[in-house]
């Protein structure tokens, strides 16, 4: 017995402490696995080839692609984004912007900028979505179509875009994003090299805040000026260059980001498209695709390619970021529990054990346990159940491990992409990778817990994403 507490209290404390430590160790194992597999994947894959070379090599055999851009209240960025999409270097593509009942001037901006006129285009009603109000084409670009529909959410808008698309492969991209000119060609590479098995490909999402943007194009990559956005740069590097690369390597990639993902239309239609009203429609679709292919015992690949880069605007206020992170957490929980029958089910192999296991540890149990750890460990120390030496030692280990993982993802970025031009940026990012462990990480966990609570209360609100716009970013 410690300091006069009853055996029962000590026993419960020990059990809780070991549960927290066990979860921490499991998370550590997941991160170590990701790191090792990502490092192997990066050393084994070819470095970036020149864009002109890609065109020369793949231009004649690249499949037609439909670029689907759901847009809701994106008046600030949509024209720049569409300009950047129309300027993409790809032999055969069309851009389908779906205005999802925006309350702002999104449609008006598009009509004015691209001289849109009403048109008719037959389409297959393969997927369900809210009613269409109008369809527009541009006399200045035969690649551009705009679908105006009643608001139904992002997944609903994406389904409308899939219905309108005629290409065998489509690419979804957010209306506030900018694709690099050769991004489509790079993302299409797996569809060219392994066309029978490849059903989805994801690319890297990077944060554009602070970068110099002109004519819908990133002219110079710079770090954001605000610390909150710099922390998100480190987070995105960790998520894309470590986690997704690793899971893709073992064909267990559970998420192809809705901000930039390429899919084979046939399979997406077969699984019923994006799940309407879902908080994590991108995660949901990829899980459905895994289930569909594994049920049919068909060989398939869902790939992540680091080089095709899509730039997006990150929230710079705590309020907006909090809403985004809570929503992501709700999306992860919703998908985990919706497809819980796949979890640890031998029928779904690696996806069931590794994919769902990782979701369970990192997304479902992780935030709860981490916050519990932050609260209980000092409490146990105050109550005399835990010694001060161990409290400090464990706390030190948790933070140093966090720093190690963040810095390792930076190292992967430096080895693979080197998109930050200056050595000074690397130093700043290293400092951010250390600092984010003290405050930002805890805040993030708090937002995720809030998402957990909202999920339990069945709160389906999406929350407004306040944008400052790429034009504003350019001036900074």
């Amino acid at each position: 017995m410690i300091a006069g507490w009853s055996d029962e209290v000590v026993l419960v404390s020990v059990i809780v402490a070991w549960a927290v430590i066990g979860c921490g160790l499991a998370q550590t194992a997941v991160y170590v696995l990701q790191l090792v597999v990502a490092a192997v994947a990066i050393t084994g894959r070819p470095p970036v080839a020149r864009s002109t070379l890609l065109w020369h090599r793949y231009g004649d055999v690249a499949p037609p692609v439909a670029l689907i851009v759901p847009a809701y209240n994106e008046a600030l960025n949509i024209v720049d984004s569409v300009h950047s999409m129309l300027a993409l270097e790809y032999p055969n593509f069309e851009v389908i912007v779906v205005n999802d009942g925006s309350k702002d001037a999104t449609l008006g901006c598009l009509i004015e900028a691209f001289e849109l006129v009403a048109c008719r285009r037959p389409f297959e009603e393969a997927l369900v979505h809210a009613p269409i109000r109008g369809l527009y084409a541009s006399p200045v670009s035969d690649r551009l179509f705009v679908v105006d529909k009643v608001n139904g959410g992002k997944a609903d808008a994406q389904n409308a875009g899939v219905n309108f698309s005629r290409a065998p492969v489509f690419c979804v991209i957010d209306g506030d994003s900018i694709l690099e000119r050769d991004a489509l060609m790079r993302a299409a590479q797996p569809f060219i090299e392994d066309p029978e098995r490849t059903i989805a490909v994801g690319g890297t999402i990077r944060i554009a805040n602070g970068s110099r943007i002109a004519n819908g194009r990133i002219e110079e990559v710079r770090l954001p000026s605000r610390l909150l956005a710099i922390f998100q740069v480190v987070e995105y590097l960790r998520a894309f260059l470590m986690a997704r690369l690793a899971w893709s390597r073992i064909n267990t990639l559970m998420l192809v980001s809705g901000a930039f993902g390429m899919f084979r239309r046939k399979e997406v239609v077969e699984v019923g498209g994006f799940t309407r009203g879902s908080m994590g429609e991108d995660l949901d679709l990829v899980i459905k695709l895994h289930r569909h292919m594994l049920d049919r015992r068909q060989p398939y690949r869902i790939e992540f390619i680091p080089e095709p880069v899509c730039w997006t605007e990150a929230p710079e206020s705590l309020r907006v970021l909090a809403r985004q992170r809570s929503r992501w957490q709700r999306g992860a929980l919703e998908c985990f529990f919706r497809y819980r029958r796949m979890a640890f089910n031998p029928r779904y192999g690696r996806v069931g054990f590794l994919g769902f296991g990782q979701m369970l540890i990192v997304d479902v149990v992780g935030p709860v346990m981490e916050v519990l750890g932050y609260l209980l460990m000092p409490a146990f120390w105050l109550l005399g159940i835990l010694s001060a030496e161990y409290l400090l030692a464990f706390t030190g280990l948790v933070f140093s491990y966090g720093v190690f993982v963040s810095v390792a993802s930076l190292a992967l970025e430096e080895a693979e992409l080197q998109r930050f031009g200056r050595a000074r940026d690397l130093v700043i990012l290293t400092a951010a990778a250390i600092l984010e462990n003290f405050g930002y990480r805890q805040l993030n966990n708090f937002w995720r817990l809030r998402g957990f609570w909202q999920y339990l209360r069945a709160d389906q609100s999406w929350g407004e994403m306040t944008r400052t716009g790429f034009s504003a970013a350019r001036r900074r």
């Binding site: 020149r50 004649d60 055999v61 098995r197 140093s400 963040s406 290293t430």
Partner: protein, 346 residues
């Protein structure tokens, strides 16, 4: 225990920060190398532009010899890809005299796949025996299927490709499914049609490649393939049958119509859609009736292809569409109305 935990923490921090210090130092060194390469690139590009004006082969040869391999492979061949005809040939001759093919060949055993791919593509500009031997060795031994395919394409460009059966065997099962194989087969479409027809009819061949062989043959536009494509339109492999139907459409021969009409009522919906599109290309009024029937097909893509084909048949096709749009069958009525209304609003 406590000491072990603290030691682990310190080790992790030192490892992380040490790695970043090394990476920052590496970046500084790389910047200096990149600056040197950028200067060499500018010099080489200026030299090549100057050569197109003064034709001073000795000056360009000296410059190329003094330029790092990476820059020659990258900038030199990027510039060359913009040129055609005699100007291209003259610069290639200067590069060959400056020993570029040998320098490129020496880089082909490198670990990095992208470097080998680029090297193989560059060698296809140098029709010398050593380059051909080197490409053949890569086709037979490289560990990457994509590099082997690139070597095969380079050899095809140099008219030195071994027999197709041997090439396919060297490329291996996985590589044979790459869409780059379509590129390879297209390069054989005029000179080595016999091998393509052999593969197209081979029942044991991969349906994907057989379809690619049919597509490559159809690019010649020669009416002599009518019989072959008509036979293959009934092939058991849906991919092959669809490709054959599409190839008939590209030939545009009126004799293809009976096969296309038969394909319109087949079980393979992709072949039905392809047959409708192909019939539209033939622009024969005899296709109106079967195409009109297809507007009742259960697959939307087939109905739409048939509607578009009818519209392509001119006033008679449009009249048929108009009648269907006013007719009693809901599916045909809807598709015909949609196809007739397609386009910019008046």
């Amino acid at each position: 225990m406590l000491a072990a935990i603290w030691t682990s923490s310190v080790l992790l921090c030192v490892l992380a920060l040490g790695t970043m210090v090394l990476l920052v130092a590496r970046r500084l060194v790389q910047r200096r190398i990149a600056a040197r390469h950028a200067a060499a690139r500018r010099r080489l590009l200026s030299g090549m532009i100057r050569f197109s004006e003064d034709q001073d082969a000795a000056a360009l040869g000296t410059l190329v010899a003094a330029t790092p391999d990476e820059v020659v492979a990258d900038a030199g061949f990027e510039f060359l890809s913009l040129l055609r005809g005699e100007e291209h040939a003259r610069i290639i001759a200067v590069f060959a005299a400056a020993g570029v093919p040998g320098r490129i060949r020496s880089r082909l055993d490198r670990r990095r796949e992208a470097q080998r791919l680029l090297g193989v593509e560059i060698l296809s500009d140098f029709p010398e025996a050593e380059s051909i031997a080197c490409l053949l060795a890569i086709l037979r031994a490289d560990r990457s299927a994509e590099v082997r395919i690139a070597a095969a394409i380079a050899l095809a460009r140099l008219d030195a490709l071994p027999p197709l059966a041997e090439v396919l065997s060297e490329i291996g099962t996985g590589g044979r499914l790459s869409r780059r194989m379509i590129d390879l087969l297209r390069r054989l479409s005029f000179e080595r049609t016999g091998e393509l027809t052999d593969y197209a009819v081979s029942a044991s061949g991969s349906p994907f490649l057989r379809a690619a062989a049919i597509e490559a043959l159809s690019r010649t536009g020669e009416p002599r393939w009518l019989g072959l494509f008509s036979r293959l339109a009934h092939d058991a492999a849906p991919e092959v049958a669809t490709a054959a139907v599409g190839a008939l459409g590209k030939l545009g021969h009126p004799g293809a119509l009976p096969t296309l009409v038969a394909a319109m009522s087949g079980p393979n919906w992709e072949a039905r859609a392809e047959a409708a599109e192909a019939a539209g290309r033939l622009e024969m009024p005899a296709a109106i009736a079967p195409l009109s029937d297809l507007l009742e097909d259960e697959i939307w893509a087939v109905r739409y292809a048939a509607g578009k084909a009818l519209r392509r048949l001119g006033p008679e096709g449009e009249a048929a569409l108009g009648a269907l749009a006013a007719g009693p069958l809901p599916r045909s009525q809807r598709t015909a109305s949609l196809v007739l209304g397609e386009g910019l609003a008046a």
